[in-house]
Symmetry: C2
């Protein structure tokens, strides 16, 4: 028997940890288009915010991060009681399962989507219900969510890895009938044309999660938040580590949220590069999903006009050997023939296009 196995909790015995996308130790040399990071640094306002806080690090943070909650609630036109701040949105997702799932209260997710939902459900000992998409375009059938039997349901919107957006009407239909808590994970919503914020007024069992990892370039700082009814926020707050968000993260996040000019500029650049990538791929007859995110999901076509899992794998490996990292997802039939490319800056994307052209025109063995 493995050492100490007899002391382990039931849930941890059967638990599989989350496996993050590859992070090369020396990030500078590779072009990282594999974990949907932002190609631009965070707002320069962060510098003074952080420097002004260093002396105060000897003191504990404000436990609820009041100023940051205020800043977020103002941005979205909500009350501060509708906001909870986390050490990354993963922290909020974890609080959702701790508060609204257990051995009897099941967790639901659309399959495939963010694999962390399975991890936080498993840590809590909750059964996971995988609801398939309605078609290859990752359409959601509201009835399949409503009738899933889950008490807590996670929906990524825009969806990852496809980038597909869903309409407010689709969510409204689900929320009207779903018996339980619905989490709409809007990690990528800043790059989309629509979001579910307007539904917070209508449904108190809706939680929207956001992250500052993507559109605010703060993946390295761990700052996410949840938006919901004051009732649900107060439940989540009970399970929250009281000092979950540190002083530097609190002030840096506020500074970045307030710098709307920088936010708009970098977001628009990314959207522009995304559309340029889609045009290129479509020129080459690669199928792409319309993307509301900072990545593009596409089905590569090789020199022989072939597609499929082997072609996707070949492209992934071709680029990796040339120090360009992208993602492919061989685990699921709906994703196995595709690759996901995060949007980089113009220079990196130009290098990508060169390499893609080389791959397309290489001799097939």
């Amino acid at each position: 028997m493995e050492y100490g196995a007899q002391y382990r909790s039931r849930n941890i015995c059967s638990h599989k940890a989350y496996v993050p996308g590859e992070q090369p130790v020396s990030g500078g040399e590779a072009i990282k288009l594999n974990t949907n990071e932002n190609p631009y640094p965070p707002s320069p306002e962060i510098k003074n915010a952080v420097l002004g806080e260093l002396e105060s690090l000897r003191l504990y943070p404000n436990p609820p991060a009041y100023e940051l909650r205020d800043c977020i609630s103002t941005l979205h036109g909500l009350s501060a009681q509708q906001v909870i701040v986390g050490n990354g949105s993963d922290d909020i997702l974890n609080l959702c399962t701790r508060c609204f799932s257990d051995e009897n209260l099941k967790v639901g997710m659309l399959d495939p989507s963010y694999s962390l939902y399975e991890v936080v459900a498993s840590l809590q000992g909750s059964a996971l219900i995988r609801v398939p998409f309605a078609d290859d375009a990752f359409s959601v059938d509201p009835e399949s969510v409503i009738g899933s039997g889950a008490n807590l349901f996670f929906i990524t919107s825009p969806h990852a890895p496809s980038g597909r957006e869903y309409s407010v009407d689709c969510f409204r239909q689900i929320l009207k009938e779903f018996e339980g808590i619905v989490v709409i994970d809007e990690a990528y919503a800043d790059f989309a044309e629509q979001n579910a914020l307007c539904l917070l007024d209508e449904f108190s069992n809706l939680i929207i999660t956001r992250t500052m990892s993507k559109s605010y370039s703060l993946a390295g700082l761990r700052l996410g938040y949840g938006l919901s009814s004051p009732e649900v926020v107060s439940v989540l707050d009970q399970a929250r580590d009281v000092y979950n968000v540190d002083r530097l993260a609190q002030v840096a996040a506020s500074a970045c949220l307030k710098d709307r000019v920088y936010f708009e500029k970098t977001r628009n650049e990314i959207i522009k590069e995304r559309e340029r990538l889609v045009s290129k791929l479509n020129e080459w007859k690669w199928e792409t999903s319309p993307s509301g995110a900072n990545f593009v999901f596409a089905r590569p076509v090789n020199a022989n006009g072939a597609t499929g899992p082997a072609v996707a794998k070949d492209l992934f490996e071709f680029l990796a050997s040339r120090r360009i990292l992208i993602r492919y997802f061989p685990q699921h039939e709906r994703t196995a023939s595709h690759v996901r490319i995060s949007i980089g800056n113009r220079q990196d994307m130009d290098i990508l296009y060169k390499r893609l052209m080389e791959w397309i025109h290489q001799e097939q063995q």
Copy 2:
């Protein structure tokens, strides 16, 4: 029925959240001697470390915080596989209950000690066994821990709120016979004469937790770590949020750990002020526990020579009304007649002494 109650997990329904010590919003005006913070700012080396990392915040952190683990393992003469890093040591304590307790595997603690143990046990749905101290000096009877029936046992050493230190022999006696995991929470060990590090070689079921909140002045940054056998660390790592420690915390913590000169200097100042406080209080015939921490636990004596819960409360309120915050613990008979005073800098301690003299010499009503 309260809204949404039917959707809540069993554990959260009965859960009571942790209540932290008071944090005045404008910290500058009050003298804060209530939450064992360090009176000095963190090492000045933190500035360049943090500034050098701002541009990289767009990228996710290194998930296991390898460099920081290396730095910590070198400091303690351990292997990197024996170290896990957390978002504060509270994060590590939470991982301990997630991995080694559940509805059947109970959690034990000495009562009274750090109230967070109860919180993390309750979140996990674990029964809590409160083991009383052997006497008013907060002595630990090893047999009472061994026979407690807990699978996971938390011991704070030096103890809080008393500051009492325990011998390596006491722990060895417990570890030899205890069937389960023992956590020795050494949050204050840098201010003590002894610690349990040498026992890591002997017992693979020992976890030692440390925090950088106290001796490294980083309460606001949230950095704690656990030391154990590679086997136990690998279990804790499975439940860890993969990005639990952000980039700024990783580099800032490394910089502070490496600045040994600053660490020694500030620690020695605090110990000197602690001994000065103990001398003063003893002059006034206040009973004090010998302290291995950055606070002193003392039983105040008023002008009439009286002691007791009412006297402790009176002193607490007298100082609070003069903007000096200390702690008192009316909930437990072993602590109700005492106050806990964190060690401040010389200037703040001098102001404290003045106010204490005023309290001692005031007319009693």
